[in-house]
Amino acid sequence: MDTTNISAIIDKYNGEASALIQILLDIQNDLHWLPREALELVSERLGVPMSRIQHTATFYKAFSLVPKGRHEINVCVGTACHVRGANRVLEVVQNITGIQPGETDADLKFSLETVNCLGCCALGPVMEIDEQHLGKLAPAMAADLLKGYQ
């Protein structure tokens, strides 16, 4: 595994142990997961024991210890989105991507999660793909939007 990027991320924070979460977030953004080699390097450079890193990496949902897809889909199923038909949107997303919430497809194209509020209930049903909010969805619209991702 090429660790130059990871080293660069650690350097950016001067290898400070207190920047652990930020460093892990940057690695997660870069690689879409936290490979073991990366965590070992972080542990060594920051002087933070592996057990602490594991604890942190499994505590926050933003981190993943298995590879995630290039595009991360979060479908909101909070109350407001639910009453506006989030379930039908979710169903379409599941059919098109072929995965269930919590899963990633074999081509590492999409990862799917459900969330309970994206903070813009007035736009429901909402989903988020790669941090972009897509609101006022209809099932057919969600299907069209998904086709635009490579």
Binding site: P49, M50, S51, R52, Q54, H55, T58, F59
Partner: protein, 210 residues
């Protein structure tokens, strides 16, 4: 070092600054039940069995004695109907996870806790963190740690480190108030014996072949 005077169950107690209510109570021979506390380790405040009433400035708060610093003019009560009830329910809940724990059974007797009150969900580990903290603070090996959070939280040995560090130590075993730690260790041991890469670093295998 400056001295702190406080009152526990009506008794005047003097302790050094920086000590907790629990330290002060023990010094005065007053018993407060604890599960996650250990003298050699930093306080954790995880089990809340040491909850006491602390009165200062006219207000009474429920605080964890093992982390609450002793302060001048603090008035502490270690037993009251409310405290007893808190300890009883906490013990009942913990017993649902670790029905066989001797430590918990002893506390249950003192507080008339019903060990069958809640449906059993034996995960055995009650997440007191004694093993994790002992390994990190006293042994400085960090072999065992927490994973995940909330209801999924558990403890976990790091097999690569366990294969090197644990065989001659196992000092955490007697600390565990339940049998969870040994179960987790046996599982790790099995993992090590099944994995060729872990076998290579297993210190027992080395001494055996030497």
């Amino acid at each position: 070092m400056s001295e702190i005077r406080l009152k526990i169950d009506g008794k005047e107690v003097t302790v050094e600054a920086g000590k907790t209510i629990l330290d002060a109570a023990r010094k005065a021979g007053i018993d407060i039940p604890t599960v996650c506390h250990h003298e050699k380790l930093e306080s954790f405040g995880g089990c809340r069995l040491c909850t006491v009433e602390a009165e200062s400035g006219g207000r009474t708060n429920l605080v964890a004695a093992c982390i609450y610093p002793a302060a001048n003019d603090l008035v502490v009560w270690t037993r009251s109907p409310q405290i007893d009830k808190i300890r009883k329910v906490l013990t009942e809940q913990l017993l649902a996870y670790a029905p066989e724990s001797e430590v918990l059974k002893a506390i249950a007797e003192d507080y008339h806790a019903d060990k069958d009150r809640f449906p059993k969900e034996p995960s055995f580990c009650i997440l007191c963190g004694l093993c994790v903290r002992y390994c990190a603070e006293v042994k400085k090996k960090n072999v065992v740690g927490f994973l995940d959070r909330g209801p999924c939280r558990e403890i976990n040995f790091i097999p690569e480190l366990a294969a090197v560090e644990c065989w001659d130590c196992k000092e955490c075993f007697p600390l565990c108030p339940t049998s969870a730690l040994q179960a987790a260790f046996v599982l790790t041991e099995a993992l090590i014996s099944l994995s060729p890469s872990l076998q290579k670093i297993d210190t027992r295998a080395k001494t055996a072949s030497a």
